[in-house]
């Protein structure tokens, strides 16, 4: 098994005719993902890499039976794309787009209150269930099917971590980049809950960042609701306070945002902490070896 994404996923690419949209649609296809439709208003009736393009998400659902969407729409129009996908009844929406105005996301969240859509991102690398399906911008070839789940606020740091796991022969059920935005669609807790329920996931890597309190909430869930081991790293221990470090979410304000504090809270909740970003794979190796005994 896996979470969010598998062989049954019928993926829609919103913004498929753009540069990034077409590039990654093809990559997802090559990985074996069932990319069944694209949407670009005004380009309905055309094709990208053999995938039919529709004018609206509703038409794509009707015409191609999509059940999940990945969004490469430019930031000014991305909130609209999320709302359109949710309105058309898609249960999984992955928004790669970076730079969406925060007030747009406030509106999106207020609307999603009344829907059952799971939103991943925005400003995220997407989701991969190795060997099954890719709906994201990560390289499929650094991944390996297996039994570790991964959830991360970061993109490229996730690749580093996955590379460490794969190098050590530790495969993954699903890797989820929830994104670096201050108002992410899904949180650590939401994804941890899915991993906890997933039969094939035996342990989880959690990669946090400075800023916000999502890691503290994750710690609380790890303590109270998680039976599976969690290896955690929090980036930004050396970041200067009060400055925005790329990710809008990565700004330290007050003590709760500091990396040291987050790692300490996670440790106290029972997570295995990797002090170094280069030690995540090794830490998980120890955990998996212990589970194998």
């Amino acid at each position: 098994m896996s979470i969010l994404l598998d062989q049954k996923t019928r993926l829609l690419v919103q913004g498929i005719t753009g540069g990034e949209g077409s590039f990654h649609a093809e990559r997802c296809l090559r990985y074996g993902t069932k990319v069944v439709a694209g949407v670009t208003p005004g380009k309905g009736g055309s094709q990208v890499a053999g995938v039919p393009v529709f004018n609206t998400v509703e038409q794509a659902v009707a015409g191609a039976g999509t059940n999940a969407s990945i969004i490469f729409v430019p930031a000014p129009f991305a909130a609209d794309a999320i709302l359109e996908a949710a309105d058309a009844g898609l249960k999984l929406v992955i928004c790669i787009t970076e730079g969406i105005p925060i007030m747009d996301m406030v509106r999106v969240h207020r609307h999603l209150d009344r829907r059952t859509t799971t939103l991943i991102g925005p400003n995220c690398p997407g989701v991969i269930s190795p060997g099954k399906a890719l709906a994201g911008i990560m390289s499929g070839d650094i991944h390996l099917p297996g039994n570790v789940g991964l959830v991360s606020r970061s993109g490229t740091l996730t690749y580093e971590s996955v590379a460490q796991l794969t190098k050590l022969g530790i495969g993954q059920t699903t890797c989820v980049g929830i994104g670096g935005d201050p108002l992410p669609g899904s949180t650590f807790v939401g994804i941890l809950k899915l991993f906890e329920k997933d039969r094939d996931t035996r342990a989880v890597v959690l990669i946090g960042e400075i800023g916000g309190t999502m890691e503290q909430e994750a710690a609380e869930f790890i303590r109270s609701g998680m039976s599976k081991p969690v290896v955690a790293f929090v980036a930004g221990a050396t970041a200067p306070p009060g400055r925005r470090m790329g990710h809008a979410g990565a700004i330290i304000s007050g003590s709760s945002g500091r990396a040291e504090e987050k790692m300490e809270v996670l440790r106290q909740a029972g997570a295995f902490i990797s002090q170094s970003p280069a030690g995540i794979g090794e830490a998980m190796k120890k955990v998996m070896d212990r589970l194998a005994q």
């Binding site: 990560m138 960042e209 221990a237």
Partner: protein, 391 residues
């Protein structure tokens, strides 16, 4: 992005929020004339993108037009150093010349997005004129909050809750609620990340007046606020960061180490800084080059590093996903062609098109220190700084 106080006040005034009478002066003569028009007395306020102006001497009172002129002469053209600036300070190029206000009481009023509830939150406090983050830390019960539901907008009852909560007397409750509603509309319509009036004064005449005003805006929403972008005063920002931004590098933050870091992705960039520290060194900066599928951004990153005298080694760590490592490699070669790179350069490439990227570097003949992974890269960069020259 930020704007100056005088710009924030102009926007608030247009939204119906009472602000003191005042004018902007760029010369001592203008400050003198403005003071005359205000009745002969004025408060001169240095227009800088930094708090703590008062204690730093950036706010002064003139009792005559001539005094205003003399004070303005002493302020304009100087650099103001406050606890929020570096030792180099920020330039004072404009003064806000305002009528002096007799203040009977001071409140705090501010709006931000609350990440927990994912809604705008309006905060009010009777502890006006103080640093609200201190109040939040030391006397959190002195801050009253209401969340704004976008489906209903800011409501009169919420304004009354805040107004009664900060102890306003009855005659000021409805005016305060109306002022708050105006501030909220401005916040939402202009995509503010912060809208703050501190202090919101109660004047001796018993009226509300926004004596200081601050508006910050969501950079991501600039596309729908071209008018705001025009207000930006680049001179107030760190020149290196401004140059970085102009060259397409959105995310550059100078810190106080010696290793210039060029990384793709914010989380990885922070992790590389953390790794360098774990290896006994210090990064000179945070630099997320983003997807950067052009060589210019790479060249500009190197230009920033070489302009920074504290940089004694450069670390490039790219894990290509969306970003292509072959383009990064070409950028490194191009940087060496255009610039005089006098420090060791450690390069680690992985991911998209890495074979091609490595080939480009190999065939360039450049003396680069190749690293196998990002830990190796950090170790080699630290060693290079400690060694002090190109290996």
């Amino acid at each position: 992005m930020k704007v100056h106080e005088y710009q924030a006040k102009a926007m608030m005034a247009r939204s119906g929020i009472p602000v003191p009478r005042g004018e902007v002066a760029s010369t001592p003569e203008e400050a003198c004339a403005a003071t005359s028009r205000l009745g002969g007395r004025s408060v001169l306020k240095a227009q800088v993108y930094a708090g703590g102006r008062g204690k730093a001497g950036g706010i002064q009172t003139a009792n005559s037009p001539e005094e205003a002129e003399a004070l303005a002469r002493g302020l304009l053209g100087t650099r103001l150093v406050t606890h929020q600036t570096g030792p180099e300070g920020v330039p004072v190029n404009k003064l806000l010349v305002e009528e002096p206000v007799s203040i009977a009481g001071q409140l705090y009023l501010g709006i931000v997005i609350d990440l927990a509830s994912r809604l705008p939150v309006m905060m009010a406090s009777a502890a006006g004129g103080m640093d609200i983050e201190e109040v939040a830390r030391d006397q959190p019960d002195k801050i009253i909050k209401v969340h704004v539901d976008l489906a209903t907008g800011f409501r009169a009852y919420q304004g009354r809750k805040l107004a009664y909560g900060v102890g306003l007397r009855q005659e000021l409750v409805n005016p305060a609620a109306a002022l708050m509603a105006s501030l909220y509309r401005l916040f939402e319509a202009s995509d503010c990340s912060l809208a703050e009036i501190n202090p919101l004064a109660i004047t001796a005449k018993g009226e509300l007046l926004a004596v200081d005003a601050k508006l910050n805006f969501d950079d991501n929403a600039e596309f729908r606020h071209k008018d705001l972008v025009e207000m930006r005063d680049d001179e107030q920002e760190d020149p290196i960061e401004v140059r970085a931004k102009k060259s397409g590098i959105q995310n550059y933050v100078k810190v106080d180490g010696t290793i210039g870091c060029m990384v793709n992705g914010a989380g990885l960039a922070m992790a590389v800084m953390d790794l360098i520290t774990l290896c006994g060194g210090r990064a000179a900066n945070f630099l997320d080059i983003g997807t950067a599928n052009n060589t210019d951004r790479v060249v500009n990153s190197f230009r920033i590093f070489m302009a920074d005298p504290s940089v004694r080694a450069i670390l490039v760590n790219i894990f290509g996903g969306m970003a292509r490592t072959d383009i990064i490699a070409s950028g490194i070669v191009e940087a060496h062609r255009q610039l005089d790179i006098t420090v060791p350069v450690v390069v680690r490439l992985a991911g998209t098109n890495v074979q091609e990227g490595k080939r480009i570097l190999r065939e360039s003949g450049l003396k680069l220190i190749e690293a196998a992974d990002f830990k190796d890269a950090a170790e080699k960069a630290v060693a290079a700084v400690q060694g002090g020259k190109v290996l």
